[in-house]
Symmetry: C2
Subunit: 271 residues, 2 copies
DNA sequence: GAGAGTATGTTCGTTAGCACACATAAAGCG
DNA sequence: CGCTTTATGTGTGCTAACGAACATACTCTC
């Protein structure tokens, strides 16, 4: 169990938990278990019965879809800004996704029963604060997924790599991440060689530096300029939907320069 | 307003509305407005304030993301199995998507206020039936979006075209749809020429037949064989999450035989 | 500090899908 | 009915990303 601390320095915190009203937090905190999650842990598999929701603190978890032929693609990432196990309170219990730990760290775990009890605790005609927060997070997740869909359709590997690095960076305490190119490739659903080449370009341009299994972001603004719009869109939605009360979920969006090459249009839909 | 009819023959029905308990349905039905939606109507734009939720009956609406450069991609489709305006009850009010009518037809409209009133109407510790249903639908939507993301990453235009035809077919009363290749291309976010070529192949193989603006599905099982797994995964999730009580949302995967209904012609050019 | 294990670099041929530029033909409309 | 609009058909490069098969080099462990 943890106390409701304001300490942003505390590494063991999750923005959703932090955003809960004190009264609610105090009710559930005795049931929170802090668990250490090594890289590669599978929190749940496609179709498995979910028993818990998880609130990552330092850990980052990747939601991926694994295809019949074994290929995979990341659908969304979840770090200290979010929660895993959304289908528990949405009513479907599970989803055809796998949740894999992409960055080791600790996670708070809460039993499905306790979660549901609080989720359904309503004050008369109005829904409770936890329900409210969870639904808003779920909407942000919807945006993240839909943006991933559009991004996978239209953006280059380079743009996507930049986007991915930035969103991972936002969930980390420093500007260095422990991450192999192979792992990134499997997240983005592209070839490892493609990442090697692209990362090489970024390094030569001075945006990042890497050595065997570690990547350091050197020039964040430039990285944002190279990323596709998707990064900013998702970030803005998370801020809009989840910054309230404590400002902990409110990340500033760095200056986004837009050199974007004038693409020709795809013939928009119904003019 | 409509009455709570069991008539599956009635063209003006929406599976979510049909699945509501009679008592709830009777409360909201006086507020339902049936509106005719021509092709190309934009129900809402990215970032606009949503005022209503919409329950399609014969109409099919496409949720798309429109990129900065004008390119677009369909994120999810919504027909008589669903609802539009999910962000209203999720708490975010809007989303960075556009909702465009892809197949003309009628839609029930309900004011946001009425929707919220019923959504938050809870019986003590338990959430109401409407909330329950809406959250389950939203989870199905999550699955649809995540599947679109994975599909955009890994599957060929042919597989995607088959998937798209099938899921559109599921929402139509007959096996013919009024649809130009240009429109399909913009939905899938690919070039029109790519659709022309692929559709030509499918026609030559006898799976479909088409003429200027109309496509008829001739061999559904074959089409399913050519589609990627995504079609089945999404369909199964919708069935799992939304077939309850009345069996109206429960489509069998194969052989969906339906008496041809007279469906209105509409102008192929956009308003 | 040497070797094993694994991460990264590089190459070459292949392909799906793109961009552009048209030709043709079917509806719709006056 | 002929004319215009719009949907579809085709062709010719072109490029990003793929697949496979390697060569190199870092690090961790023993």
């Amino acid at each position: 169990m943890i106390t409701h601390m304001s300490a942003q320095q505390n590494p063991n915190h999750n923005h959703l938990l932090d955003a809960l009203p004190r009264s609610i937090f105090e009710r559930i905190s005795p049931h929170l278990e802090l668990i250490s999650m090594p890289l590669g842990t599978v929190l749940y598999e496609s179709g498995s019965q979910l028993q818990h929701v998880y609130f990552p603190t330092a850990a980052i978890v990747s939601l991926q879809y694994v295809m019949e032929n074994g290929a995979s693609a990341e659908i969304a990432g979840v770090g200290n800004e979010g929660i895993l196990g959304v289908p528990i309170f949405m009513g479907g219990n599970n989803m055809p996704n796998r949740a894999t730990v992409q960055t080791a760290g600790s996670i708070y775990r809460l039993k499905a029963r306790q979660m549901m009890e609080e989720f359904n605790r309503a004050g008369g005609r109005r829904s409770g604060a936890l329900q409210n927060l969870m639904l808003r997070y779920t909407q942000a997740l919807l945006t993240q997924m839909s943006q991933t869909a559009a991004c996978n359709r239209h953006h280059s590997v380079e743009q996507q790599l930049c986007r991915w690095l930035l969103s991972t960076l936002d969930r980390l305490p420093s500007n260095e991440m422990s991450m192999t190119q192979e792992l990134i490739a499997s997240m983005l659903g592209v070839r490892r060689e493609g990442i090697t080449e692209t990362a090489g370009n970024l390094q030569r341009a001075g945006l990042i530096r890497y050595r065997r299994g570690h990547i350091t972001v050197l020039d964040r603004p430039q990285l944002e300029a190279c990323a596709c719009e998707c990064y900013g869109v998702v970030k803005k939605e998370f801020n809009r939907l989840l910054s309230h009360g404590t400002n902990k979920t409110n990340f500033p969006l760095h200056h986004r320069i837009q050199p974007s090459l004038p693409h020709q249009e795809f013939r928009a839909n119904h003019p």
